[in-house]
Amino acid sequence: MDLILKIWRQKNKEAKGELKTYEVKGVSPDSSFLEMLDVLNDDLVNKGDEPVAFDHDCREGICGMCSLYINGEAHGPDRAITTCQLHMRKFKDGDTIYIEPWRAAAFPVVKDLVVDRSAFDRIMAAGGFVSVNTSGNTQDANALPIPKDDADKAFDAATCIGCGACVASCKNASAMLFVSAKVSQLALLPQGRVEAERRAIHMVEQMDHEGFGNCTNTGACEVECPKGISLENIARLNREYLSAAIKAE
């Protein structure tokens, strides 16, 4: 496959970026999107040009590192995948592909296609945890009976890999799906209830402080989420937050 790539190039955080056009030839339809970018970068390095910076790590869909807004959609034109799971057979020979970084005030571009997603880390640090006794006498989690439905919902929420596709896809750059998944995975379990109120309040405050937008329930996040995190979690976060805020002193 021969392709024309329009890629966002930006030297650093302060620099003004622009879309640059590249041609890449002989791409295998069976290669992944990231492998196609590797081919491009090999080409650029061989020519003595600066390779395109992009995030990647596990390349098996679980680390949440690879981002990329491809042809107008987070992780490209496929559902329930990360960019490393996107294959070139989804495109046609001769296609022009736009590759842009996540766009959000809370996710500033570091270089080219790499964005700073540490806002998510700070939201997690604000309350996305359970405080446990690490004395060595930790209670076996299985000692607490948990309804199967709750356990399943908590597990579904916990599959969020924090990639930021929800923010990237949302017209308001809202982080509600991410925060709601992180609140839900703990709020649904008895171990998480102890700090549930404080968690909801602190994580939402931090989310707003980071400059993410307000959720307007378009549902774009749910559609583009590689792990299929449901909007049900956002409704749960709304309930968790509102009841906590009413009770808060």
């Binding site: 842009e100 707003d208 937008g213 307000n214 959720c215 307007t216 559609v223």
Partner: protein
Amino acid sequence: MSTHEGMTSIVRKFLMALSGFFLLIFLLQHCAINFLSVISPDMFNSVSHFMGTNPLIQFAMQPILAFGVFFHIIMGVILNKMNDAARPIKYAMNKPAENSSWMSRNMVITGIMILLFLGLHFYDFWIPELNVKYIQGDMSGLLDPTFAESGLRYHEELVHKFHNPIRTSIYILAFVFLSLHLLHGFQSAFQSAGFRHSKYTPMIKKLGNLYGIIVPAGFVFIAIYHFING
């Protein structure tokens, strides 16, 4: 329910939903009363006179409604401004239609169109009503306040407005925008209030679609009916 930085995003959305619920109820009763003008002019006159002169409705419900409308508009503007700021650099290539409905993405556009319509609607009905009742001091509701047998004026005024084809067309267009606004707004309000359930949410979505089509269609029908029969 606020923080050191002011109201949080969830509270803003919750208040938007609450004002939305209130406006949904108001709209339904407005449509039902207007429908009386089609089935019984006398009943429409009686109900309109009651609504227009009852102190509880005039001095308690009307200010609450005005506040609800005003709050919904102002909060909508604030949310839109904040959301724009959350993405200062837009995508060069974006395909939002792949993951969300036009209605859900354009609530501010449909909202502005409804607001513009409200300007005309107030000019047509509300301002003249305030003028007659509270400036001229005529609380009789009669076509001719000096002649008790002249009958109530409300049906006559309503029908008169829809003689004009341009005005009727503008009203119909506004109801289309109202429908688009409601098709997302109804179910969105439940989600913002935290109400979501595997059994009830599909019903709420269906009910929202019915409401979003039937209520504006009712207003359209009333406008066309009076244009044709007026």
